[in-house]
């Protein structure tokens, strides 16, 4: 029995549980910095899941952009907007109840949708998924440059992504400029004097 441990599944359990636990922790914790930390762990575990799914490049991207970039940005925001060392804004109990209930409903919905299709349940037993290799990034790059894949088994489903790629590039530029404009230093108004803040 011991010899049949499926390491792929094992790692999935490891990373999936990490992701789930820490995403719940994000919801439950009150401190915004701890939230960010748990989020990091959650997203890191997600990156691990990406590796398990054979999307190594996406996983690395996730680490680089989310964990390395976006979250650092977020922490910056936290530090810039925190007045005391640890700011808690208490949520009322009623909101917790309503939010939790709605969330649970949604979760139920999504879970039953996830396990509904037999085909999605995974490969038939005995197929060794532990050898799942990450696809080389070459194909991703080529597809991004607009060359449709000639993967014979999925003709018609795959196409080039040059236009979205370009749109996203321009979008990023716009965002860069826009956020630089929005966040540039302005005269800071005092909170105690609402008459000044028009």
């Amino acid at each position: 029995m011991d010899g049949h441990i499926n390491w792929h599944s094992f790692y999935f359990l490891l990373f999936g549980l990490t992701a789930c636990v820490f995403s719940v922790a994000v919801v439950l914790t009150g401190s915004i910095v701890r939230m960010a930390f748990y989020l990091t762990l959650c997203l890191g575990a997600t990156a691990g899941l990406f590796f398990l799914a054979g999307a190594g490049f996406v996983g690395a991207m996730q680490l680089l952009i989310y964990v390395g970039g976006t979250l650092v940005l977020l922490i910056f925001g936290v530090m810039l907007t925190a007045q005391g060392p640890f700011v808690n804004m208490k949520t009322r109990a009623g909101e917790w109840v309503i939010g939790g209930a709605a969330g649970l409903m949604l979760l139920g919905l999504l879970l039953q949708a996830a396990f509904r299709v037999e085909e999605w349940r995974g490969p038939p037993e005995g197929v060794a998924t532990a050898t799942a290799e990450n696809a080389p990034p070459g194909e991703i790059g080529i597809r991004m440059l607009g060359k449709p894949g000639d993967n014979g088994k999925a003709v018609g489903k795959e196409s080039g992504y040059l236009l979205p790629f370009e749109i996203v590039s321009v979008h990023l530029l716009v965002v860069l400029i826009g956020s630089a404009y929005l966040a540039r230093t302005k005269r800071r108004r005092r909170a105690s004097d609402p008459a000044e803040s028009t």
């Binding site: 992701a19 919801v27 999605w120 999925a154 929005l182 108004r189 909170a191």
Partner: protein, 114 residues
């Protein structure tokens, strides 16, 4: 089924994604801190992303031919990039908001109420 011995499938990834998604939604619904809401959004996006990658993967399906292939990864990439952009803008907005109000509590930002 025994998760330690049986191969996992797209459904399992989707379950993890669903948990993250719901956590994100609940986070958005309950946090009063603007940045907390931002983190909720990140969770939601990642939950969704996980689904894309899972559907793209050929190892997680009964019939690998039905997998999305690289398309799933590509969409996930786009989502990541757009999420980063969104985070930057949202953060800029949050900072601006904070500069104007000296707080980040989104419940105070209800002046658009008609």
């Amino acid at each position: 089924m025994n998760l330690l011995t049986d191969p996992v499938g797209a459904s399992h990834f989707m379950a993890v994604g669903a948990v993250m998604f719901v956590c994100g939604v609940v986070c958005m619904a309950t946090k009063r801190n603007g940045l907390g809401i931002l983190m909720g959004i990140e969770l939601v996006i990642n939950g969704a992303n996980l689904n894309f990658v899972a559907f793209g993967s050929e190892f997680l399906r009964r019939n690998p031919d039905y997998a999305l292939g690289v398309d799933g990864q590509l969409i996930a990439l786009f989502v990541i990039v757009l999420a980063a952009a969104e985070a930057a803008v949202a953060l800029a907005i949050a900072l601006n908001y904070y500069n104007n109000r000296a707080t980040i509590d989104v419940d105070r930002a209800d002046e658009l109420k008609g």
